[in-house]
Symmetry: C2
Subunit: 587 residues, 2 copies
């Protein structure tokens, strides 16, 4: 067994006889001497073998990259002129005395430092090699430290770590549920949990007061770049605390985490109502690193003849907004075309713009394909409202409210990134005062969060004006990402029934799907609320990682398969028979 | 929000104005005054309402058991003569000033202190009420403390908490696997993991050096009293450590845990080879709290005419053993009949016995139905070997080795418990030197642990004598329960192939099922090994709990269903269609 990790050796160890275990990271011949860079979890150390020790020299000569070895030797100063200041162990080297080859290695399918040249497929197929890369080692170690820090914070604050089941009840309409056929109950299925929501509420009814769990959750949906079929949630629930107290405690947890892990002070998180976030930033998770804001100009456009603007300006569900980009007049036609394509992703049918060249010339000084349609007077009123300066560009969106907000909201961030406009590295906030419900495309009503979220009004008011009712929900946002979200929950059976009613869930359906919750609410449910953080997302943000697959040891691909184990796989007819199912079509 | 937990109030708080949140545990009228015992997670406090404060008195009069309330009031000494030394808060009471009813409660289906009169069914159906019982609160809180302590121990020792997937690869022959149909890969299935075994080995190949995870595992089998379809494992794996080091570190973890959580010193754990455990205790997890041992007497029986003993005595796969119970001559016929039935569970066809009444009279002084078949001479030789004394009873087993060991091994513990023969409260040990393989009933060979366990011999020796080869496995046993088990793993591809070969797994099958492991072994796999503890079992032992369902918040029944949520449930035909499966029979 090792006496030291490779990466831990320093000048203070000079003169010590040590033992290392690790992998041959690199092998060099130089001046009749063999240099092995030996790697373990903690880093690299250079080990030197000279021909005086015949046996170990011959062995050292025979090793290849990724061989697993044990080395005994003497730590010494590196000869003058060979100190490597870029390596933490660069001041010393080990004079190798004994070498044992613990395991040989075939030439790996890719060298660790050449991972970018090989496709992600190859790396995922040989994940056990890919994970040897120092970046991957660092990220997963960081993840482990983060979960440990969070657990200790919650433990110190009286939270109990309680496990909830993975084999949950499947229900009809369980879209996105992964199903598990039951062998003992023919024709019945378990569902893997999308979150422990109901169980954590029941733990509050049971009086546990403060619960947490770092919980695996599952969602069977078509995967976007940043989703995984199984993901991990830091799941929190408390009793007898209102939204202020819950936000305060969890904000403090995240602040301490950033302070302790990254030495970053996030400061106090500002609060912003949902309506304001949508209006100013076109997003319910605004990225406040960028100062630009959307400005509404529908009132100035309502009376013009140009239908593209006037139509949405007069439509109560429409929006006309402008985004001023300081210094954006320099943007080329090509870049503007790219942005036009970009907002198209969000449904925008085009991207009107005005460049401000010489404001002192009035409308003459504006360069734009649309000024002639707006009329000079309206154009100048808009310029005035936006307080433009020479060299700015103004982009416009005019469409349904959702399209304009999403398109300009996304453009705001894209331009901000492209033009390096971030004014700070970290911009956290709370978004609050969400609507309880939103209209569906079919004119129905759906819960913006989930149907267990408490409204901030009475059941009567909720029933009278569901679409204007606000909820007691809150989302923690960092740099335009939703880190976590939660709410005060409904603890009153009558209120819960009202919400089901507004959502068009019949009494029978409510009883069938949530009977146990409704039951629980009548036997002394305390006021309660909580929050869930996405752990994968949190680690991505903290480590500056673009892909979720880089913060998970064994991730799935976008088609929800594992390249390494080739999951999912085929099973035997006998197995299916035991589960009382059969394949509809044979593959 | 509360200023104090109910259970935390003490004499030092007298004179303070405090706020409590909790449940009405009991309500009493006494001398025109109302007493409410208010309960929260930390305990009970008595709150007194007197008629002077009309409003709160009326409210206090209206509350019923399990109402959720907030109380503001003044802590004061209890009047002389009413101090309750059995309650931690029994020296004080709270004079209630304000009372708010936060939620009402219907009369619960059972009172918390009457849980034993209602069936487990009713309690599991209303688990959120059952969990309010102080015992359940204590057990789940204890469980949370244990996992936190274990995590911190492992974190302090450089172990990284790394999550492995729940959606794993299904394979044909995956008996006991829960299956999850894939929507994106028609006709393919995921399997829920029985353990993270292969992933943790791959993490070692990836160089993480020390891994742990408190991991959910799944097994679809007919449930015995102490099993659950989903259970939790403390899963540990290390590189470059041999069995001594791994056992040392994990033994220390368990010792510290018992010391810190229960103030119990387990001392050093003795080691016992598997063969010795089977011989002396008839079990691979001997309960060393009881001193009795099995004594082999086949050599004395081989030549007698009585076939029941002589047959197994001469059979190389047979065993004839005796169990001396000091003071057991007092056992009644009825109890002996019960024991006879008991050993029948393990396949024993009967239970022969000899009572030692007056040893000084020789065979005359023995009372037994079998002495006449043994012959007096043999009977006395057995008595001599067993060093019997007057008042003892000797039980006999004669059958296949497995039957005798299991039957007498179990009887040993049963008698030990019945007669209070435990010599200590805690008896830990390591069982080591397990055989690599055992013969199956069909004459084949199966792995005693799993096929990734390293043997303590060369591939050649293993191949030549598979049934006598020993493995580098180890089990930690406490009071006759297997707390955890593990082994040094195979890190050499050739050795792994040899083991598959001995097990009759063809190259194709090995490639199909474990190709990724075999692949990984050729790219620089370090020597590695590990261990997994059953967390549920550990908590049961530490809290003295008989049923696994008492240490899990939301357990399944023995038919693998959840009484509360009624899982598993039915799903729609559309859901199944999307998964490309259909039911074989409609239920």
């Amino acid at each position: 067994m090792r006496s030291h990790y490779c990466g831990d050796l320093r000048k203070e160890h000079v003169g010590e006889e040590i033992t290392l275990n690790g992998w041959v990271h690199r092998r060099r011949d130089h001046g009749g001497v063999i240099f092995l860079d030996v790697r373990d979890r903690e880093g690299l150390t250079q080990v030197v073998f000279d021909p005086d020790r015949e046996e170990s020299f011959a062995l050292a000569d025979s090793v290849r990259n990724e061989f697993v070895i044990e080395v005994r030797g003497l730590v010494r100063d590196r000869p003058e002129g060979t100190v490597n200041p870029d390596m933490p162990t660069g001041e010393i080297e080990v004079l190798g005395k004994e070498l044992v080859i613990l395991n040989k290695a075939e030439t790996p399918p890719f060298q660790l430092d050449e991972h970018q040249q090989v496709g992600e497929d190859v790396r995922l197929r040989h994940r056990y090699i890919d994970l040897r890369r120092p970046e991957m080692q660092d990220k997963l170690r960081f993840r482990s430290k983060v979960t440990n820090a969070i657990r200790n914070y919650l433990d110190d604050n009286g939270f109990l770590d309680i496990e909830t089941p993975i084999l949950n009840r499947a229900t009809p309409e369980g879209a996105r549920d992964y199903l598990v056929p039951s062998r003992t109950h023919e024709g019945s299925f378990f569902a893997l949990p999308q979150s422990p929501q109901l169980f954590k509420q029941l733990l509050m009814v049971a009086g546990f007061d403060r619960y947490y769990q770092i919980a695996k959750c599952f969602r069977d949906e078509d995967l976007r770049a940043d989703r995984q079929p199984e993901f991990t949630q830091i799941d929190i629930e408390t009793s007898f605390m209102d939204e202020e107290a819950i936000m305060g405690m969890t904000e403090n947890m995240i602040r301490e985490l950033f302070q302790n892990m990254l030495d970053i002070d996030l400061g106090d998180f500002p609060r912003m109502p949902y309506a304001e976030a949508m209006q100013r930033y076109g997003s319910d998770k605004p990225d406040l690193r960028f100062p630009m804001e959307l400005v509404d100009v529908a009132d100035l456009m309502a009376e013009i003849e140009f239908k593209v603007f006037a139509g949405p300006a007069k439509d109560p569900k429409g929006r006309v907004a402008a985004l001023k980009v300081p210094g954006g007049a320099q943007l080329t036609r090509k870049i503007i075309d790219e942005y036009t394509k970009f907002v198209g992703i969000y449904g925008a049918k085009g991207l009107a713009w005005i460049k401000v060249n010489e404001l002192e010339k009035g409308a003459e000084g504006l360069q734009s394909p649309i000024v002639k349609f707006l009329g000079e007077d309206v154009a100048m009123k808009i310029m005035e409202r936006l307080e433009v300066q020479n060299g700015d560009i103004v982009f416009f969106g005019a469409d349904k409210e959702k399209v304009v907000s999403e398109a300009l909201g996304a453009l705001r961030i894209k331009v901000g990134e492209d033009m390096n406009m971030a004014q700070c590295e970290w911009a956290p906030l709370w978004v609050v005062d969400f609507p309880m419900f939103e209209e569906t495309d079919k004119g129905g009503v759906t819960a913006l969060h989930h149907p267990f979220t408490a409204p901030s009004c009475s059941p009567e008011e909720l029933k009278a004006n569901p679409l204007t009712a606000l909820s007691r929900a809150y989302d923690m946002v960092l740099n335009g990402c939703e880190l976590g979200g939660g709410s005060v929950r409904i603890h009153d059976q009558a209120m819960q029934k009202t919400v089901f009613d507004v959502l068009g869930i019949s009494d029978e359906e409510a009883e069938e799907k949530f009977g146990f919750l409704l039951n629980a609410l009548q036997f002394g449910a305390p006021p309660h609320g909580g929050l869930a953080f996405g752990l994968d997302r949190l680690i991505m943000l903290m480590t500056g990682t673009e892909s979720i697959r880089e913060v998970i040891a064994f991730p799935k691909t976008q088609s929800a398969s594992c390249m390494m184990t080739e999951a999912p796989g085929e099973v035997s007819a006998a197995q299916l028979r035991e589960l009382n199912i059969k394949l509809r079509k044979t593959p």
